[in-house]
């Protein structure tokens, strides 16, 4: 269910580490809890985030939630497709990245969960 190549947080974000950069999205569990997503509010490119810091909000028909950065780093890209297709968060959560960050402290990845540990968390 949860792709093994991704790492996860207790706040239901996933992170795909690709060399010095990482992309971030929310998990299938998170999108199911939210229901139909209608807005994703993302930060400006260039903003520096700390691990666990809020980087935006995600809004579904029924609720609004904060998004938390799994790692510290500078935002180098945001997914502009989400403005027109917020529903992609529901239809393909693990392929829909929200922000890409330049990781500033690789040792922080030790705090992330692997797929099995995350799946156990959602049970």
């Amino acid at each position: 269910m949860y792709p093994a190549e991704l790492k996860y947080t207790n706040d239901h974000e996933w992170v795909r580490i690709d060399g010095a950069e990482a992309s971030v999205g929310i998990t299938d569990f998170a999108q199911k809890q939210l229901g139909d997503v209608v807005f994703v509010e993302l930060p400006d490119v260039g903003r520096t985030l700390k691990q666990g810091e809020s980087f935006g909000t995600i809004e579904s028909v029924k609720a609004v939630s904060e998004l938390f950065s799994p790692l510290s780093g500078e935002v180098v890209a945001v997914n502009s497709d989400l403005a027109n297709h917020p529903d992609h968060v529901n239809s393909k959560p693990h392929d829909t990245w929200m922000i890409r960050i330049k990781v500033s402290n690789a040792t922080e990845t030790a705090a992330l969960l692997d797929a099995n540990a995350y799946e156990a968390l959602t049970k």
């Binding site: 229901g35 139909d36 209608v38 807005f39 909000t57 809004e59 028909v61 029924k62 609004v64």
Partner: protein
């Protein structure tokens, strides 16, 4: 599932957007058994209803229904209700789930104080309530009943059988679509629910939950008592002057309501549409020059109109259609505009 007024209620089955669109284009089936029923009967039942509610119940024929409100002496809401005239001297009030006990005590106490021959009964546990809503609703329901459904006009009801079970069927709903609400003894509810789902399968009927019920009612500009108005909101402030019986005798709060109609109103509930991209939700402040001047009472992204809309209480001077105002959305100042209500109106057949 979510706790709502003491009931475990499904928020969604196939997703709020899917259920919402199904009701607008085919039909949705809602279990709204949480709604309460309070009956008033006796020689002075009409007088009691006239005293307790703001609409003119004397205009109701037997078999007819009206939207109304139980009002306080201040002209504010105890609850918003539907009044069914069962017989000349017998009325049934359909009330909100969370208010059943409060409403019953309010009605009982006020009726006792006035004296006369009027018995008040909380009959909520005697009815389950199933709503079938949408353009296909009549066709689906008709396959299960001998009741002549086309003969039931909007806001009228009839008695009969559905799927072999004794029911009362009213052409009412909380979605802005055509449809019916079926009052059924709890023991028969599952049978009627399953029969309807089976009968409607090839017409696209799907179960719908509390989430879609809320987006549908808001798109149709129907108020939610407790959210859009409460004991602090008068009938006029809620924009519901059309449910006041202006010609009837005094009722609870009538002096204040009449004074507000004559010009003393300073705030009012209006419909708005977001100009900026955001959803304004219940409780978000309306601000001007750093001061809170109003409040959002309901707001959502509507699945059918695909707009971000809502209801807000604003100073009367700002309630003209087209007026722009500012809502504080979690610290961000966003612009909204007053628009005409309802947001959505179904096409006439």
């Amino acid at each position: 599932m979510v706790e709502f007024g003491g009931w475990d209620m499904p928020v969604e089955y196939t997703g709020i957007i899917d259920e919402h669109m199904t009701v607008r284009t085919a039909a949705g089936l809602f279990d709204v058994s949480h709604m309460g029923q309070i009956e008033i009967a006796g020689k002075h039942a009409l007088e009691a209803v006239q005293h307790l509610t703001c609409n003119d119940a004397s205009k109701l024929a037997i078999g007819q229904i009206q939207y109304s409100a139980l009002t306080t002496p201040a002209g504010t809401f105890v609850d918003d209700i539907l009044v069914y005239r069962i017989a000349d001297d017998h009325f049934m009030l359909v009330v909100n789930a969370g208010n059943i006990v409060k409403d019953y005590e309010w009605i009982q106490n006020n009726t006792r104080q006035r004296g006369g021959d009027a018995v008040v009964v909380n009959s909520s546990s005697r009815y389950a309530l199933i709503a079938i809503q949408g353009p296909e609703a009549e066709g689906i329901l008709q396959t299960l009943t001998e009741i002549d459904l086309p003969a039931i006009k909007y806001y009228w009801f009839a008695n009969g059988e559905v799927a072999g079970q004794r029911v009362m069927v009213s052409r009412t709903g909380y979605t802005g679509e055509d449809g019916f609400e079926v009052f059924v003894p709890p023991a028969s509810a599952e049978k009627v629910w399953n029969a309807l789902l089976a009968a409607g399968a090839d017409k696209g009927l799907k179960p719908a939950g509390l989430g879609a019920r809320d987006t549908l009612r808001l798109e149709a500009s129907m108020r939610l008592c407790g959210s859009d108005m409460d004991e602090n909101t008068t009938v006029m402030e809620a924009g519901l002057g059309w449910i006041v019986g202006w010609k009837k005798d005094a009722f609870l709060g009538s002096e204040i309501i009449k004074a507000q109609k004559a010009g003393s109103l300073d705030k009012k509930l209006v419909g708005f549409e977001m100009v900026d991209k955001a959803i304004a939700r219940h409780g978000y402040p309306v601000v001007a020059n750093g001061q809170q001047i109003g409040v959002v009472t309901s707001g959502t992204q509507t699945p059918f109109l695909k707009k971000s809309i809502g209801l807000a209480i604003l100073p009367v001077a700002m309630t003209t259609v087209g007026t722009e105002f500012t809502i504080d959305v979690r610290g961000r100042q966003v612009t909204a505009r007053v628009v005409p209500e309802p947001f959505y109106k179904r096409a006439k057949k």
